[in-house]
């Protein structure tokens, strides 16, 4: 340990040691206490007085022996100064008188005749006056010095106490600050948890509302299906009966075929409504999306070729397998591929791209797999972009779209925990981006 300061107080009462880190005195020793101190002071004063008088006497003897040499006269100042400084003003005045007396005796002993005593007496009185004044001034200076010293000591003690107080306050402030920082961190954590809980609550509430709506829609769809499909079945069976008669009338056959097609379309719309309203549980299995895309393209190849659509595949190799319901995602892909083809009535290029990213693991999600489907068609009107996922919204001619296709696509993606975004490309056409969460690592 390094010590910053060793204090020895001038009053000789205490000896203290300060630590280097400014934390106040670490050790303190009272040297004297009570009566012991008074006796020590008294003995010290007597010793100083004795030594001073002895010195003055010695100087007087020396003055006599040297025949009143001027240089010796200055030596008288030493005992006066010593006595005054260490034994007080009274001792100083007494020493001044004693010194003048020694001077006088030395002068008298030096001079032979009595008539010559006038000068030395006069000199002695003058000298006593000078020495006395000097002793008085010296004592006054010493007193002032002591008062100053006491003031400095008091001020030092006061400052030391103030520093200790400040250090203590600073320590308390640091502790309070640390507590506040910890409290703030706790509050921030609680706030985040509260926000998360609030978000989950809102999400759950939305899901409950959505579930309630879907239950209502499901019941409605079931009722509609029952009430509409039975008449459709009667019509269909009637058409079948007449078709099987094979009358040979081409017009009759064509009309009956149109009736069957009309029944099929109406029935299909009811089925789509049922799919939308009552989705069956997902049957998730690990699926290689590249292979699923190729299979889906095979299913719509004929329609793409007929529409003069060139297909370009940019599929990432070693694409991680994704847990999904194969038939449902196939439905999503076919829907988007057909939409892209229909957006390019004069033909064009359809690009399918796959990629994967593996950001830092968040929960069970270890990354994402994206599927992009781009066309070079006419794009989507900006005011329609927000509505394309709404049920029954369609820009297709009457009879060519139910307006449920993209709505179902988004619903399927959401049930997979994924997402779909649809945007116009700067180069023209539309880009659909499907994003799937990777919940288990592995490559297909």
């Amino acid at each position: 340990m390094a010590f910053r300061q060793l204090n020895y107080c001038c009053d000789m009462k205490t000896l203290s040691i300060d630590n280097a880190d400014g934390q106040g005195p670490k050790a303190s020793l009272n040297l004297f206490k009570g009566k012991s101190l008074a006796w020590f002071n008294h003995l010290s004063r007597l010793s100083i007085q004795g030594i001073s008088f002895g010195m003055a006497l010695l100087v007087g003897v020396l003055d006599y022996l040297t025949g009143l040499d001027v240089s010796v006269a200055f030596l008288y100042l030493a005992p006066i100064g010593l006595g005054t400084w260490f034994a007080g003003r009274r001792t100083g005045l007494l020493l001044a008188c004693a010194t003048a007396l020694f001077w006088l005796v030395a002068d008298i002993l030096t001079r032979a005749s009595i008539h010559q005593l006038v000068v030395p007496i006069w000199n002695t009185l003058a000298l006593a006056l000078v020495f006395g004044t000097m002793a008085y001034l010296l004592a006054a200076i010493k007193g002032q010095n002591e008062r100053l010293e006491q003031a400095v000591l008091r001020r030092t003690e006061s400052l030391r106490a103030e520093i200790a107080e400040r250090i203590h306050t600073e320590k308390q402030l640091r502790e309070t600050n640390a507590t506040l920082i910890a409290t703030r961190a706790d509050l921030q954590k609680s706030f985040r948890e509260l926000e998360q809980a609030h978000e989950e609550l809102r999400s759950t509430q939305s899901q409950l509302i959505e579930a309630a709506k879907m239950e209502t829609v499901g019941r409605l769809a079931a009722g509609v299906a029952h009430e509409v499909k039975n008449p459709l079945m009667t019509l269909s069976l009637g058409a079948d009966y007449f078709l099987n008669r094979e009358t040979g009338n081409a017009n009759e056959a064509a009309m009956l075929a149109d009736m069957k097609e009309a029944v099929r379309r109406a029935s299909n719309i009811i089925n789509i409504l049922l799919d939308y309203a009552r989705p069956r549980p997902l049957q998730r299995v690990p699926v290689n999306l590249n292979r699923l895309i190729e299979d889906s393209l095979t299913l719509v190849r004929q329609q793409l070729n007929k529409g003069r659509v060139t297909v370009r595949c940019e599929l990432q190799e070693q694409l991680p397998a994704v847990l999904l319901d194969r038939s449902r995602i196939e439905h999503v892909l076919i829907n988007l591929l057909i939409n892209a083809q229909q957006a390019m009535p004069k033909g064009g290029t359809l690009t399918v791209r796959t990629s994967s990213t593996s950001p830092a693991k968040h929960g069970d999600v270890t990354g994402f797999v994206s599927v992009e489907i781009e066309d070079t068609g006419h794009g989507i009107e900006p005011e329609h972009l927000k509505k394309v996922f709404e049920p029954f919204f369609t820009t297709k001619p009457t009879g060519q779209g139910t307006g449920l296709g993209l709505s179902i696509v988004r619903k399927i993606m959401e049930t997979h925990g994924g997402s779909i975004t649809l945007n116009n490309r700067e180069e023209g056409g539309v880009r659909a981006v499907l994003k799937f969460n990777l919940e288990e690592k592995g490559t297909a």
Binding site: A222, A225, H226, V228, K229, N230, P231, L232, M233, T234, L235, S236, L237, G238, D240, Y241, N244, V263, S267, N268, I270, N271, I272, L274, D275, R278, P279, R280, S327, R328, H331
Partner: protein
């Protein structure tokens, strides 16, 4: 060739009549109609059909309950049943029929040719 006895149970007279006409036109099926589900069991016990076409959604008694009662009846226990339902979506019927458990469902409206084929297949089993 022996004719196969078919019992059609559906609350829609238009549907049952159309089915009867279409199926009997082939000459291989003899169709009995029952438009009330509560009478289906009695009718079935009376005619002892080779196969029953049973609508799912009917008033008074639904198709599932009718099927349960038939399966509990020793005379009808082995009679195959094909359910006809309007509430089967595209996702549930990848072909023209769908099997759930031990039962076969055919979605309305169906193609008469496919229905005949299903009936024939089930009777052969």
């Amino acid at each position: 060739m022996n004719t196969q006895r078919i019992l059609v149970v559906d609350d829609e007279p238009g549907v049952t009549r159309s089915l009867k006409i279409n199926l009997e036109s082939a000459g291989i099926f003899e169709v009995t109609i029952e438009n009330r589900a509560v009478n289906a069991l009695k009718t079935a016990r009376r005619i002892r059909p080779d196969l029953i076409l049973l609508d799912v959604m009917m008033p008074e008694l639904d198709g599932g309950e009718v099927a349960s009662r038939m399966e509990a009846d020793p005379l009808l226990r082995d009679t195959p049943i094909i359910f006809l339902t309007a509430i089967v979506s595209n996702e549930e019927t990848e072909g023209h029929e769908v099997t759930k458990g031990e039962h076969t469902f055919i979605a309305k409206p169906m193609d008469i040719g496919e229905l005949k084929k299903s009936i024939t297949d089930h009777i052969r089993r």
